[in-house]
């Protein structure tokens, strides 16, 4: 008898238990409850009614639109600003370490604290932002009170808070590019702009992909920042899927809010999986 296994399968029991109990079981159960009218103690099977309700209701559907805008906008800005900052921060400037830390600090602050702080900074008449704009003669908008602007104001704050992570990932990616490429480039007499477009950018693709995916997933399920800053308002104008789900839960519509969670799960999967496939296809080996 040949023994060809190194470890016993028993070793997967602890991790398997945790995985099944905390991940698989709740997921399966939430799929089930999304088809019910549920009071936490009792449930009644109602088929697809919860999902229908979600799709028929404009004040629920606005969340899908806003979530997509928010996710794409924040992910895009984080990549662009992140690349820009990373290029500066791997160059040989003196205050590199200090600037690296300051860029990363907002990541460490609690999202709720950031939200409340910016709610004050963005106050239309007393906020620091509009006071400053006043000094140079510009009347600042009502950042969070204007229904057409609120979601974008929150997106900007999210970028400010999240760009540090993107920058750190991109710095790591760029530092791992072998110096040989740049030397060869220099010998060929290329400009530094060329070096950026033809060496740095293509070779940091894996890092950029990671940033895009993380930012996109983060953007799709954002909740705390919106809740702290506008509560989804004014009206429903800055509601995201997650804040809508939360409001349904608050209202005691447990089945409906679970259906919202299932929809969010499907949405994230449908968006992120193809993008992941597409992006990784183009990755270059170093």
């Amino acid at each position: 008898m040949k023994v060809n296994k190194v470890y016993s399968y028993w070793l997967i029991v602890p991790a398997g238990l945790i995985y099944v109990l905390l991940f698989l079981y709740p997921t399966a159960v939430s799929f089930f409850f999304s088809f019910t009218r549920w009071t936490l103690t009792e449930w009644e099977w109602i088929g697809f009614d919860n999902f229908k309700m979600f799709f028929e209701e404009p004040s629920l559907m606005i969340g899908f639109k806003n979530t997509l805008i928010f996710a794409v906008l924040t992910a895009g800005l984080k990549v662009i600003i992140g690349v820009f900052l990373a290029v500066i921060l791997i160059s040989k400037i003196k205050t590199k370490r200090f600037i690296r830390s300051t860029v990363f600090f907002p990541v460490l602050v609690s999202t709720i604290a950031v939200g409340i702080t910016f709610q004050m900074l963005m106050h239309p008449s007393n906020g620091l932002i509009n006071r400053t704009l006043e000094l140079i003669g510009i009347t600042g908008p009502d950042w969070l009170g204007n229904p057409n602007l609120a979601i974008y104001s929150i997106a900007l704050v999210d970028v400010w808070k999240g760009v540090g992570i993107a920058t750190v990932i991109l710095i790591a990616g760029m530092m791992s590019i072998p110096k040989d490429y740049y030397e060869a480039h220099q010998i060929d007499g290329g400009t530094s702009v060329n070096a950026f477009w033809h060496i740095t950018l293509p070779l940091s693709k894996p890092a950029i992909n990671a940033v895009i995916l993380l930012a996109l997933i983060g953007g799709l399920r954002t909740f705390d920042l919106v809740w702290a800053m506008t509560g989804g308002g004014p009206g429903f104008s800055s509601d995201l899927i997650a804040s809508i789900i939360y409001k349904q839960y608050q209202a005691g519509f447990y089945g409906l809010s679970t259906a919202g969670n299932v929809l969010l799960f499907i949405l994230v999967a449908c968006i992120v999986y193809p993008i992941f496939k597409f992006l990784t296809r183009k990755e270059v080996d170093l």
């Binding site: 029991v13 238990l17 608050q250």
Partner: protein, 439 residues
Amino acid sequence: MEALKTGKWLALAVIGLFVLLLAACGSDDTSSSDNGSDQVGGTVSILISGSQRASASVEAVAEGVKEKYNIDTEIEVRPEGAEGDNVVKTRLATGEMTDIMSYNSGALFKALNPSQHFADLSDEPYMDTIQEEFKVAVSDGDGIYGVPGGSTSSGGILYNKAVYEELGLEVPQTWEEFLDNNDKIKAEGKVPVVAAYQETWTSQVILLGDYYNLHAAEPDFGEKYTANEMKYSSTPAALRGLEKIAELHEHGHYNDAASSTSYTNGLEMLATGEAVHFPVITDALAEIESNHPDQVDDIGFFAIPNDDPEIHGMTIWLPGGFYVNKDAQDLDAAKRWVEYATSPEGIEKQMEAIKPNGPYMVEGVELPDDTYEAVLDMNEYVEAGNVTSALEFSSPLKGPNLEQITVELGLGMVDPAEAAEKYDRDVERQALQLDLEGW
């Protein structure tokens, strides 16, 4: 190879078994309560909302109960508003509720499925002293489950009497006169009506406070609305409340930057005379007093005006209740606690700790001498018998998105007809989730 397979399946089976065992553990909870001794003493736990008033009032009762029965009170604090509702619902569902719960009366309470969780107090002798209107709001089927946890309050318009005097204005008898007053106030460079939409709940007060007027026109609206026979969008008297919110926007009577104005800002504007009206729940009086003690007696009250000068009435909010957990550790002590809280002695204690925002729902209680001016104004409506309790006490339907919809309306993002339709759909969604008859 065979051994390997068996090992793999065995491992998976063990995982499955654990899952089942844990799931089984969670569902069964039989707690035995040991009561039966009439001995005075013991400890009672109570869950209250995190407002200053609630805790001051409960602490006053706790002190009295300690003196009289030597019962200790453990106070637990939960958040206010919708987040607090979550805490209450979750704790009830998991069987972790305290011995006594302080919570809203009316539809919110009835949605908790009271007979399942709370002790029936309908046979207690003190029930005769409590007004019928309150008992209806805390009953479920034949049982009555609560006693009043404070004074009533009202949703109407708090106004600055000092500015009224200065500008020579009269308390408006109709909505038209109210708009005229606002125009005059605006001409003086003051804000006629505060819109403090940073706290979204404040945006719905005009509609909710207009219920007296709605009720005067359609006495059975509550019933028919619950049964899906009447809707906001198709009932002119109901729509009128939404129109009033919109008209103030159209006339430019609200302050600028409404979405960034907080409730506290709004009260400050009112107290200092920068603004003259604030449609709000009269619970605000206590906050005005604590922040602006010298101005609180400048603040008066009038109900949301009707279009008809003959109809003047106030919509009241019944107080929340104290409810006894059926499975309380010491049921007897908990019952004594609520009995004391609703006795004239207990209410006097509460009034010493906090000034009432309106009359009490218990017989034999008189308002103290230092009562707020605005409460005295409210009392005139009560004495004239022109009060109705708000819609939320007679119907379990209050769409959770009303406050967002009224914000949209107050900011001019939608018109009243659209708002009414949105709200009807919101209510429909709630009715379907509550599985009410007729929907």
